[in-house]
């Protein structure tokens, strides 16, 4: 092989290596940030804590809220960080709230893969069994679907084992509605499925 060809091959290899590192960095960044957020957002003294789920009911955002950028001051949040690698998690949110509220599910790559708001929840309540996605038609998927149906729950497939659930309750007037919003937050329940 001529020296010029060897040099060219080296440049191509260098470019390929830089491109792979570039792609890996872009792919990994949201996952690293999400992992950090899941650890940071739900503290060790969370309200519910077991091997599959941790739940936290933070106060309304103020200038001292520094866990996550661009916090909404108009929303009361409740968070549930889950890990479905050892089994499903049951989620209930029966809110009697006059304004907007929603329950959103996030995968470990930041995707908001499922959301239900108050208008839809009137007909389809948040009474979910959250399970790690199995191949369609497999024995495991059939068994999970049957167990969810027997429990009277809607089965929601999660694309990643670890993820985060976020309840948002819109608080039009934080001075007058803070106490009511705290009660509404408390209606979110996340527990390991039996």
């Amino acid at each position: 092989m001529s020296p010029a060809l060897i040099r060219l091959r080296k440049y191509v290899l260098w470019l390929l290596l830089a491109a792979v590192i570039h792609g890996l960095a872009v792919w990994a960044l949201p996952r690293v940030v999400m992992r950090g957020a899941m650890s940071r957002l739900v503290p060790a003294n969370s309200a519910v804590k077991d091997e599959r789920v941790r739940v936290f009911y933070p106060p309304l955002a103020t200038a001292t809220a520094r866990q996550i950028v661009l916090p909404s001051p108009d929303l009361a949040y409740a968070l549930c960080v889950y890990d479905l690698s050892t089994g499903p998690v049951d989620v209930d949110a029966a809110l009697d709230w006059p304004g907007y509220w929603s329950v959103a599910l996030y995968a470990d790559n930041t995707d908001n893969y499922f959301v239900r708001n108050d208008r839809v929840a009137g007909a389809l309540p948040v009474h979910w069994r959250l399970a790690l996605r199995e191949g369609a038609g497999t024995a495991a998927a059939t068994s999970l679907a049957a167990a969810a149906a027997a429990a009277g729950r809607e089965l929601v497939w999660a694309p990643s084992a670890r993820g985060l659930l976020l309840l948002r309750v819109l608080v039009a007037d934080r001075h007058r509605e803070a106490a009511a919003a705290a009660q509404a937050q408390g209606r979110l329940r996340c527990v390991a499925a039996p």
Binding site: I21, L29, L60
Partner: protein, 189 residues
């Protein structure tokens, strides 16, 4: 030989990581504009490309998908000048078509400004708004007639417009928003 391989790997690592950071941090792909407002179209969406996901992770983690909420960010006024906390701005326009809208002011660290009275946002339930209109006044001290958002300090300023359950036209095309005007109003403090 070892040194040559070391530099070969290190330079590829620096270029790979550096180019990824530049594209994510400064690239504008996947955004649309409505006046001075920018919206990342696929924020939170399962259809987002890896670059959009990375941008959202850095600048707006846990965003809702566009069917539920559309977000618009402004860091300049209508004249293109960077927003500054110690200056006054008037934000005006027709109320966006949405079930709920709000305008929130953030410092350039992307956190809320300190305010003892918790005046962090103006929304469609705020008192003093003309029917069907948005009026927001920002600045370090109260001024003018209209709802005021305090922006103390000397940092940059970021305005975030949130539209919850926006109208079908905006859901389909975030650029269809009739943009709220952002005008500098008087001298900076």
């Amino acid at each position: 030989m070892f040194l040559s391989r070391f530099w070969f790997g290190l330079s590829a690592l620096v270029v790979g990581l550096g180019s990824a950071w530049c594209v994510v941090r400064f690239g504008g792909g996947g955004t649309v504009a409505a006046g001075a407002w920018q919206s990342t179209v696929l924020a939170g969406s399962t259809h987002a490309d890896p670059y959009t996901r990375a941008r959202v992770a850095l600048g707006g983690l846990l965003a809702l998908g566009p069917a539920e909420t559309v977000y618009y960010v402004a860091t300049t006024d209508d004249a293109g000048s960077p927003l500054r906390a110690h200056c006054r701005y008037r934000v005006t326009g027709p109320a966006p078509t949405a079930r709920w809208w709000s305008v929130t002011a953030y410092a350039d660290d992307r956190f809320l400004f300190a305010d003892a009275a918790h005046r962090y946002s103006i929304n469609n339930a705020s008192p003093g708004l003309p029917p069907g209109q948005v009026t927001v006044l920002t600045g370090p001290i109260a001024w003018g007639a209209g709802p005021w958002l305090p922006t103390p300090g000397d940092s940059g300023l970021l305005l975030l417009l949130r539209l919850y359950q926006p109208g079908a036209e905006i859901r389909a095309n975030a650029a269809a928003l009739v943009p709220l005007r952002i005008q500098a109003a008087g001298p900076c403090q």
